[in-house]
């Protein structure tokens, strides 16, 4: 099949799962009010894939005061873009922080694109302060008194056999990072704060 076109029969949603997912609608509607067929199909290069979590790798609720790190494998399987976006548990709207745009990803607007490491992996940090030696585009600010959840998006998801974040299938890649050294404010930021 051409990687950039729909199959002749159109969108093929996943088969129904009957009573095993009775709570899925309730759970979904907690955070989401709309859906598109592109979310429910697997057409390489066209469909979109969403992964989300409210807990970290140790199954603990994500804490706004803590710092977490996710390392994405080399060759993130997307044809259009990938991104992390943070949402406030209280409003299910995007997390409201001084950073203004609670996202990191391949796109360079409205905040800089995340940069890959020398080995091709990409590390993204989530925490109240920008850790030392971490680029602006690889850090999403959080608030110590706000709980958040995160959605990872792959638009134009490529092969299903691509490596998953965290390595093994279905593992949660959100690892808490202890004692990060905050990055010192740049002169530009200091100037802005002084004004």
């Amino acid at each position: 099949m051409d990687c950039n076109s729909l199959p002749p029969e159109g969108v093929k949603p996943f088969p129904p799962t009957g009573y095993r997912q009775l709570d899925a609608r309730t759970d979904f509607f907690y955070g989401v009010t709309g859906i598109t067929p592109a979310m429910a199909m697997r057409v390489p290069g066209i469909g979109s894939t969403y992964l989300w979590t409210m807990v970290d790798a140790n199954k603990q609720p994500i804490d706004g005061a803590k710092t977490y790190k996710v390392t994405l494998p080399k060759d993130i399987p997307q044809a259009n873009f990938w991104s992390f976006t943070l949402y406030d548990n209280m409003s299910r709207s995007m997390l409201d922080t001084p950073q203004r745009f609670p996202r990191a990803g391949s796109q360079s607007f409205p905040s800089p694109a995340a940069e890959a490491n020398a080995d091709g992996t990409t590390a993204v940090y989530f925490g109240p302060t920008q850790p030392a030696n971490v680029k602006r585009g690889n850090w999403i600010q959080t608030m110590p008194d706000k709980g958040w959840f995160v959605i990872f998006r792959l638009y134009g998801r490529l092969s299903r056999s691509s490596p998953r974040p965290g390595g093994q299938a279905r593992s949660n890649p959100f690892c808490e990072v202890a004692n990060t050294t905050p990055r010192s404010a740049s002169r530009f930021e200091e100037a802005l704060q002084a004004n």
Binding site: D88, S91, G147
Partner: protein, 92 residues
């Protein structure tokens, strides 16, 4: 000219909040759509931190959901079980 200068200054000041680096006052979230730290319910008190349930609250609510589904399974299948029992009885 002075008018024009004022306009330019006004335009510049208006543009500043668009800078991502600026700290902007955060909009309050209406309490009616948020999750309080403690909710009194028929299951007893439910406790949350920043919108996330603690372990005991999550376990309590999952038990409740399981019980609800079990109740539904019972009341929605009792009719079929009853009719099947009639058939079985008539065969004897």
């Amino acid at each position: 000219m002075q008018q024009f200068t004022k306009l330019v200054i006004a335009a510049f000041v208006c543009a500043i909040p668009a800078l991502p680096q600026m700290a902007v006052a955060q909009a309050p979230i209406p309490p009616s759509i948020s999750t309080p730290d403690k909710v009194e319910s028929r299951l007893g008190p439910l406790e949350f931190k920043d919108g996330a349930p603690n372990g005991a609250t999550a376990a309590k609510v999952y038990d409740h959901v399981d019980y609800t589904h079990a109740y539904n399974a019972f009341v929605n299948t009792m009719q079929g079980v009853s009719v099947a029992a009639i058939h079985k009885g008539n065969r004897r």
